[in-house]
Every structure is written in structure tokens, then in C-alpha cells.
Symmetry: D2
Subunit: 277 residues, 4 copies
């Protein structure tokens, strides 16, 4: 028995150049589309009658971009979702994920160039639209923001068992590669400003927090977004604990005054939570 199925197209790469008089605008999006609906016969019988090809999904990304233009990734995701819901009666739910590569303008001696760009990063902006026959949810996110705080971070007083060797500390480095996704109450907001506000709030709270653990700081960051930004209704944060270990220099007759660390890739702690209003 087929209990769940989905199909779609991933990694559709779209770059749009808007050619203004004196300056161009650049959008760099990677789109993924995912259909769920009454498509069981295509699985069980090989009957493709109701199956919109994923190649058509790809074409639709380019066609809608050309016909209507792309501004905010959330709005483009909404337009795609509506288009697919309208044209596919078998479709029950569609999900559109958009990742935006952020570009800045290259600076020259007399101001920014109007038609030359440099990629910002390493973090990316994401948008997610989930549309059904009744409801449509619009969300946004940020991926791979690498952040580190070198003070106000402790971890102590934890549970100990026979395999516990970790010492508690009041002063450790806390580093993570933050990924957060959140949902908006409405589609009638300035998505670009909202995204910047959430990003700023997340980083600001990370920096100001008196941290007792990654869990503690993660919660404070999510809380701050819900407190300060009223049109966010829920937020999920994933924060790998990218351990920075103080190097033991005693065999060299040197002291490590909490200044020299080895950054490690693995293993890593993985902390996640979802907060709702």
C-alpha cells in the first residue's frame, strides 16, 4: 500500500537581470517544487495521464519569471504555487522552496557600479511556500550563518554518568552554523524587510545572551524573534555545536589563557527546537 508520495523538480537555477536606465538589479534563485496529490496510478500502473512532467515545472519557473518578473523569493514562490494549484486538479498540496544567493554591488572610486556584482555569504536566504486547497503558508529562513561568541558562554551543572568526562566551564567559545526557518502570519508584508529584521534579531540575541548552553541561547534567539517581530508565528532553529577545544600547551612549557583553540568539524552537537506563539 502506497501511503505517501511526492514528486517534483529540484535545483532549478534562475538568474534574472532587471535592466534599469543607470543600474541593473540581479536576482539569483534556486527553486524546488514538490507536488503531493492523487497520483497513485502513476506509481501503481505507470499511468502518466495526470502527471505534469517535472520538465514543465522547470519551464514554468522561467516562464513566470519572464512574464511577471521576480522580486521577493516569497512572492515568486506564491505565484508558482498558485499557478500549479490552478492548473492541476489532482494536486492536493504543493511546496515551493526558494534559495536566494545574495549579491552586493562592486564598489568603485565614485560609488557602486550599476552592473557588476559580488556574492555575499556564506549564508543564504530561503523562502518556503506550502499551498493547499484551503490554506497557504508562507515562510522564510536563513541557512548556514556561521556565528561565534568568545564570551558569556558557559556549560556546567549537567548530568553526569559513568561515561562523563567533560568538565564544566564558565567560559568557552560557542560557535554554530545557524539555520532557521519561520512562518509568517500573512502574505501582506514586506518580505525583504522582514527577513532582515529576523536576521538582525537572531544575531543580536546570540551576541547579547548570557549563555548557559546552546539550548539556552537557541531558545533566547527564537523568543526574541517572536517577541520583537509580531508577524512571525513560529520559528524553528537548528544549531550544530561546532566545538572549539582549548589546546593543551603544558608539554611545551606554555600556558593557554583560553586563547588558542582547535576548531573541529566532527563530531558535533546538534541542537534544535521549534517555538510558536
Amino acid at each position: 500500500m502506497l501511503v505517501h508520495s511526492a514528486y517534483g523538480k529540484s535545483r532549478v537555477r534562475l538568474v534574472q537581470v532587471r535592466r534599469g536606465e543607470s543600474r541593473h538589479d540581479l536576482k539569483d534563485l534556486t527553486v524546488a517544487i514538490r507536488f503531493r496529490g492523487h497520483y497513485d496510478e502513476s506509481y501503481t500502473d505507470g499511468d502518466n495521464n495526470a502527471v505534469l512532467p517535472t520538465d514543465t515545472m522547470k519551464n514554468t519557473v522561467y516562464a513566470l519569471a519572464a512574464r511577471d518578473g521576480v522580486d521577493e523569493p516569497e512572492a515568486f514562490g506564491l505565484a508558482l504555487a498558485r499557478h500549479f494549484m490552478d492548473g492541476n486538479p489532482r494536486l492536493v498540496r504543493v511546496r515551493v522552496d526558494v534559495t536566494e544567493g545574495r549579491w552586493g554591488r562592486i564598489a568603485g572610486a565614485h560609488g557602486d557600479y550599476g552592473d557588476a556584482f559580488v556574492r555575499q555569504g556564506p549564508d543564504t536566504r530561503t523562502a518556503a511556500v506550502q499551498a493547499g486547497r484551503q490554506h497557504t503558508f508562507v515562510g522564510a529562513g536563513i541557512s548556514d550563518v556561521m556565528i561565534l561568541k568568545s564570551a558569556h558562554s558557559a556549560f556546567e551543572g549537567f548530568l553526569r554518568d559513568e561515561f562523563t568526562t567533560l568538565s564544566g566551564t564558565r567560559d568557552r567559545l560557542l560557535a554554530t552554523s545557524l539555520t532557521a526557518t519561520w512562518r509568517y502570519r500573512t502574505t501582506e508584508i514586506d518580505f525583504g524587510a522582514a527577513w532582515l529584521a529576523v536576521r538582525h534579531t537572531l544575531l543580536d540575541r546570540f551576541a547579547s545572551h548570557q549563555s548557559e548552553s546552546v539550548q539556552h541561547t537557541l531558545h533566547a534567539m527564537g523568543q526574541a524573534v517572536l517577541d520583537r517581530i509580531e508577524y512571525v508565528t513560529a520559528i524553528r532553529l537548528v544549531m550544530p555545536n561546532k566545538h572549539h577545544l582549548p589546546v593543551d600547551l603544558s608539554s611545551f612549557g606554555l600556558e593557554n589563557r583560553n586563547e588558542i583553540f582547535v576548531a573541529t568539524e566532527e563530531p558535533y552537537g546538534l541542537i534544535e527546537a521549534t517555538l510558536v506563539r
Copy 2:
């Protein structure tokens, strides 16, 4: 309000060498552990009182391996899950994911070497244990098996809209990087033999199937596993359609008799489904 939370340790790398008289056995595992339970105070108040450090989770992997040895990844995952459930009253559910890097023996003139190994791949074997206070589920999987069939693969008769340009075909290359995960009815089976049986069945059905689409073949593969292997109760398959496009050689006065293709990485179709008994 905190509606969901989890924490754990990922990418714990364990290599075990069993030193027999004439030959060694090698196990190469990457373990991830994930706790869910009554840990809200650690998030909301920074109270670490009930928090087992993720560093201890890592230590436990090595300690249990040393104390009891590792055989099948499923069994090792079960042992870890039970250990954590026993020692952590706040823990409601634990998930242990194990990825096994497969190694073969290096062949010499007079048979295989007893203590030299070469990595097999690119696919990896996975195991997943999900334990709660009432039930424990054991599953297994395979990741990144790249498979391709050059005959008996069609895609035609699909839905067309104003953005559809794809032509139907009775003869295309079908290539995917299969990832499958499945659940076992019981923990009392030979996990190694079971894994090989599922792997063989998936590949065999992929090869023998008269494919009308990726969906169609994915379903047939899952169906074959449920039909032939009675201790599998559910299986989920994810099959990206890694498109191979025939190259148009007409401008060079050459004909492409369906022999010359460009393999593409993006965009790709993404097909998935879950079948249960």
C-alpha cells in the same frame, strides 16, 4: 512556547578492528544520537541539571564498542538506544542513526589479505533505531546507490499545459541515486543477510522493470521488497531523476542513434514514496 526540541551528537566516527588469529575484521561506523524528552528547562532557564552532555554520548559510543564489541550496525544502535533509555529518566524517545562504510579485503596472489582493506562504494549501509518507553523500531537503509538502465524505460502520455515542451519517449536512459530506508518487523533477524537481500531485490527489480516513469519503477522496487522479504513492514524510496539528455548532433552532420548523452546534475526530478504492508 517550545513545541518541539531535540539534542544530540552527530558524526561520531568509530573504527573497530577485531584481531583474529589469522585475520582481522573491520567495522567503520558513523553514529548520530538524538534525544527527545522533558528537557524544556534547559532551553527556557539554562538549567542543565537533567542534560546528559553530548560529549558523554560520544564517549558512550566508544565505551560500549570497547566493552561489548560491534557486529551489525542495527544491533549496536539497539544497544546504544537501550543504554540511554535506561540511564535517562527524562528521555522519552531516542534515535540512533548508524552509517556503515563498507570495506572489502585486498586480494593477493594467494587469496585475500587478512589485515588489509579497500573501501567499497559509493553506496553506504545505514541503520536507524527509534526507541521509546513502549516501542522500539529498527530499520535499515542504503544511500547513494547510483543505478542506470539503458533500456525498458519510457515516459509518455503525460499531462501537457502551456509550458510543456517535453516530447514523450519509449526509450530513454533512466538513472538515479537511490536512497531507501525500511523498517523491520522484529529485532530477531540476521541484519546483515537482510540488508543484502533488500539491496539485491531493489537492484534486481530496477533492472527487470518495464518502466513507464520513475514513479512506476520506484513503486515496483518497493513492492518487490515487501513481496519477497516478509520481515520488512514498510519501505521508503527516494529517487532523484538524474537526467541524461541525448546530444543533438545534427549540425555536425552526425546522427545520434540514442547513444551519446550528456549527464546532468541540475535540475533534477525528485520522486519519493513510502509503501507499507
Copy 3:
């Protein structure tokens, strides 16, 4: 006959926190060390007598950082190179490569935080020191700067053969992931300021250039660095041509006024050159 050999340690990850009164400074370096010298017996006879372990190279990175501190990556590379040359008579040449992950400060309502950081990127700063018994060369570089220009880029008038199908164009997108390395005339410069000057010059010239090809722009960029920055004696640039292809929308009754592109990862052009004074 052994005609060439080298050994060393790669990916030594060092993070240094300098703890000032009101603010911390962060350095994030990845170091690679490579020895060449009279080490043939270690290869041919397994005689390790003169072999400094690569583990010691790693320790040296942390010990020198702790003892003397790290400022510019070039200076740290020089210190490491001199240390190894002094202590290893068999060593003929040592190469130290340093990659710096760049971090900025997190901004708060009342100015930047003194002890919280966010990673800048995606490009990284590199330094390379090559020391011998007679000469020492210090160089620097930049990796993976993604840049794109949407005007003033042409490619036409090229050679055509029987397999050429490309049309010439006066207006295409030009995008690359720039990697450049250069050599300094002396070690007595402000390496941080120099690096910023070269980076700015490369981007500025990329943006302002009337491009007839990637080759043409690459040369202009290198030329500009040699023209404007007198202590750079040589520069090598590698610029993959990351093709952005206009999407043909004619089947949808839509016109593409050079606005809608598909960004491609492969295949890509690869252009490189070295300029010296």
C-alpha cells in the same frame, strides 16, 4: 629512482582569541606545511631518523601561536617557515599555506559587539610562504570570489571550425569564481592593507572593464594590480567561466530580452594566466 618527494601536514585548524579590555580579536586560520629536502632514506629504507613527524608540525602551529601570537597570516607563515628551516638541517625548502576565514563583528543597537562574530564570505584570504636556504618568497591570495557583470561583456570574432555552433554576442553575462595568488617584493609591508588593496583593484577592474572575453578581462585585472600596487611582482589568476545561458522562451510566446538566464555548473570554461612585472 625517487625524483621528487614532499611531506607535511594539512588542515591544521587554529582559532586565536585575543582578549582585550573591551573587545576581543578573532583569527581563524587553516595551515598546511610542506617539507622538501634530503629525506630519501625515509622513503627507500624506512629510516625515520631525520623525519620530523607531521604531528610535531601541527603542535608547532599551536605553540608558536601561543608563544608569539598571530597577526597577519603572511607573518605567521614566515615565522613557521623560519622555525622549521632553523631546526631541520635536511630541509631544503618549506612551504606554508595559510587560509584565513574572515569574520566580522555582529552589530547591535549601540554599535558592534566586542565578543561576537559572524563569518564573512564566501571568499577566503590566503597566504603562501616559500622559504629556501637562500631566498624566501611571500605571497597572498584570494579564493572563490564570485563576481558577475551584466553589461560590457562580449565574445565574438572567434575561430570557427566544423564543430562550432556558438553565436557571437556583444552582450552576455560574465560570471566567475575568481581565485588569484600574487607575490610580494618584500616582507616589509602591511599585509592586511596590501590584501585589501589587491582585492579592491581586482574587483574594480573586473567591473569597469569593456570585456571582449574572459581572457581579456583576466589580463586587465592582473595588469591593474601590477600597475597600481608596486610591491606586487607577479600575479596569477584563475577564472572559470560560469556560463549563464539565456532561456529560450519563444515556445511560450514570451520574449527573453536578455533578462532570464539559467546558471550552469558544468561544463565550464577555465581561463588562467600569470603576469609578471
Copy 4:
């Protein structure tokens, strides 16, 4: 002054299906082409007159494959090199690199399927052709063969300085991800058989060697290839030392009888050498 330049096309992905009566043959190649020659005007003046577009290089890969078929990657590289040397008078040297993804047949109940394939790996086969006006060199290689030996591997008696903390050992795990490239004396050999012979010899010698260090084993492996395979004239080996560290279990009251290791990704030793006849 422009002292060095090169341009070409990388990651041209070609899949060829030869459709025999009862079975198909599959070739999966990734090709890179690199031109060096008298192309300075294209850099300095933007004069593209003599520049064969990299797009044409890509087309040529598909056209030659269609016209003449692909068998061994070395032979296909030679054909491409000759084609480009013949048609481009400004070309002084061309390099063609071919990477072959290896596929095996999927096994069924009654023998292998004729038209279904599964990727072998993780290692890949490579070929490299370097052609000039006078000489042409053909070489081959293997990339990313992960090999490990759990006995007959020591490292002791090395140089010690003030930062050396490593203990010597007679019994350690030795693991590497081998990459080797070699050159053939002639183009008149069975490239497929030669590649298998070199691969077998490298692995066999790795396994049988009484290792005093990575350097020692690397040399023995290169030596064995030159000793046993007379048409190989030179070989280069690169062997990162992928450290496997015994886990200290003493705090848990457990002994580690050299059985439990943590596999590490970084830092790693890097050992390389070239042997010629």
C-alpha cells in the same frame, strides 16, 4: 608581461551507450581540455581571432564520440588531442584529462542484466594525454582509493624537537586515500589491462608491505609498479595519512587493546613522491 596562460573546458560530461544485440556497454566520462599556445593577443587586446571557443571544445567531445565511438579513455584522449593539434596552428600543447566513472552490471537470478548498471567506486579511473608538436605523452591514474591496513605498520625512531609529543609505535592503523598517476612508454598497449595491473599492484604492495612510515610504503608501492609493469616509465603517488587514533578508555575502567579508534578527517599528513625508471 604575460608569462603563462592556458584556457579550456572542464567537466564535459559524456555518457555513451553501445547497443549490442543482447547487451549494452556503458562509458561514463568527464573530460577536461586545456590549450596552451600563441594566444597572447586574446589576453592583451581582446582579439579572439585565433581563439577556438571552449563551447566548440565541448561539442568536439560529443562529435568525436558519436563519429568514432569511445573505448578506452586514454585512446579517446589521444583522439581529441590529435584533432585539436591538427586544427589549431597556434596551439603548442594540449592536455586532455579524462575521468571514468566505473559501472558494473546489475546481477539477476540468471546472470547479469545486459542493460542495467550499478556504479562502482568510490575510486575513479583517470587518463591524461599531453600532446605537443614533437611528443605526446599518455598516462593514466586512479583517484580516491581508500585503503587501510591494520597490521605491519609502524612509525618510530623519528626526529624529536621541543614540540614533539608523539610516541613511536610498532602497531598502528595506516589508512589513506590513494591517488596515483603514471605515464606509459608507448600508446600501443591495452590500456584497460594496464590500468587493472597497476591498480592491483598498488593495492597488493600496500597490503604486503612491512611499513615503517607512509613514505616507506608509498615508495614500495611505486617501486613495485616500476618493477612489475615494464611499460610504466614514471609514477607519482599522493597519500594523505588519514589518522586513526586509539581511544583512551581508561577513565571508564576499560582497556583498549588497539581495537577502538576514532577516524579523523583533519588535520592529515600529506605524503607524495614521484619515481621514474
